[in-house]
Symmetry: C2
């Protein structure tokens, strides 16, 4: 009998649910809806359950054939427990317990951080997944996840893979959103890219229209040979390369995957990162390749589904 897994990606704005077959983790159908705003400690889980029931009904799948639910959450989480969540009105909540309350007891529940699960999802979506992989996501913030021996690495407090807050340069004035200084995110996040563009544009000629400034505009100008834009993107690429050289000395992955909105710049960005990485990398680690993420916005639900599958597999081994 065919069995199924639900992958859920809870965001501050939207919640996405995918239904996967439990063997190959192939996406059968998905649904996306607005994150309920009120009483989130309860409403989110009730909504998720309702939507899962509705989508499996439409697929003619029975609840008893749903063997697991994987959930990606937008905050640090350890053993299913969230202390605080900047994007949701959650505090001191055991997500696994909450889900167990409303789903049948034999449905396996596994929860982790969305960026970590995106790393797992991206890696598992490759033709041959790697044992060790690092995902760096570039967007408003810089995030990421670390896959070690095929599993996500949460760390002891859930900070495993907080790549955006690696301290990579000496910053005396500006403070990062995290409260510290010198974070990768301060250079490679949207804010850092736009501010550095404005700063350079004060003293240099540029084709960029500062009244319509966006990260896309900066990349487009760089591709067209604009000098200011290229200085900005070179700085982004250089510090991504430095961070990757550090990650190579700790995680030593087989692959770096670049994702997030900013990565839409495509091979133009990858080529620049690889150029700087060749200089920054230690020993023979300069051979680790960079690729673009390719699951689009589905990495979270795919990773969540794989997390459940891995958890079920691990339990079978331990039970044996």
């Amino acid at each position: 009998m065919k069995k199924y897994i639900a992958g859920v990606d809870i965001g501050g704005t939207n919640i996405k649910i995918g239904i996967f077959d439990s063997e190959k983790i192939e996406l059968i159908d998905k649904v996306e809806f607005k994150t309920p705003k009120r009483d989130q400690n309860q409403s989110i889980f009730i909504h998720v359950k309702k939507e899962i029931e509705s989508i499996i009904k439409s697929l003619k799948i029975k609840m008893e054939d749903l063997i697991g639910i994987g959930v990606a959450v937008p905050c640090p989480i350890k053993n299913g427990y969230v202390f605080a969540c900047p994007n949701l009105d959650w505090s001191n909540i055991d997500i696994v317990k909450e889900l167990h309350k409303i789903f049948p007891s034999d449905v396996k529940v596994a929860v982790s951080n969305d960026a970590s699960l995106a790393a797992l999802g991206e890696n598992e979506s490759l033709e041959i997944p790697y044992k060790n992989a690092v995902l760096i996501t570039l967007g408003t913030g810089v995030g990421g996840g670390v896959v070690i021996d095929g599993n996500i690495h949460e760390g002891s407090m859930g900070y495993g893979g907080e790549i955006g807050h690696m301290r990579v340069y000496e910053e005396k004035e500006l403070t990062c959103g995290c409260g510290s200084r010198g974070c990768l995110e301060q250079i490679c996040g949207t804010h850092g890219i736009l501010e550095y563009t404005k700063q350079l544009a004060k003293k240099n000629k540029t084709t960029i229209d500062l009244n319509k400034l966006s990260v896309k505009a900066v990349f487009d100008a760089a591709k067209d040979g604009d000098n200011v834009a290229n200085q900005v993107i070179d700085r982004v690429a250089k510090y991504l390369a430095i961070s990757s050289s550090i990650l190579a000395m700790i995680v030593d992955p087989e692959i770096f995957i670049i994702g997030g909105g900013v990565s839409k710049a495509g091979s133009f960005l990858i080529d620049k990162i690889e150029k700087y990485y060749k200089t920054e990398a230690r020993f023979s680690s300069g051979n680790i390749p960079f690729i673009l993420a390719n699951t689009g916005n589905d990495a979270g639900i795919i990773g969540a589904a794989h997390l459940v599958k891995n958890t079920i597999k691990r339990n079978e081994k331990t039970d044996a």
Copy 2:
């Protein structure tokens, strides 16, 4: 029937062998001898076998009660294979295969990097070992190891835990021994400490006798309030703190363990690191404690013995 494990630590100068009981990994006896210099691709293994036979004979342990041999090697190693070793005349050699050739086939062999195994040894020697731990060793070089979920993390090419070569500062002139620039080792290794002392002493008064310059002399002077010495040690502590803040965002360990010759400076050094770490650490990761390594020179053999034990346990699980 009691069973035993041998832990072997192969260095460029000496080889150390410890015999442990296989249950609690308690050290029963140990021996240390010079590393044979000629024909190392063969002689090292033959010597190790001879010494193991001799020590277990003296302990009245039969070869059939020796269930495993763990070996620490002073080079990057992956799946038992060494491509090149700066400290030994080894190249393209499968250490596991070589040991299997000369030991009975049912003796389990496990090999890994010495710094990684020291991390495992230090962690396992704690009253309650942590799941995730980082060891930073300070000596001529800066090394270390990463324990994740109770196992050492080798990485895909054996660079997992090459903490000394994390790029932590902008260095335009000086090159590290690894060939790159801006490595932690350039500040916190013996050479970096002594050179920075000389540099500061040119322009500042100091009680340090530059004709008898040593790392110990710098630490002693710092403890006595010497200004130059304190600037040097503060720089060491600051960059160890920066590196640790980065490790906290990737590995997110429960503990940082500081070892190696330089760590003999004791709580004076730990206190300085912790001071800077409180400033550098992101989010709530500033609470991760720093402790001094406490197995002395036995961390390698202890870690090697634990590696075999873990490997045997894992195989039992997989076989089940």
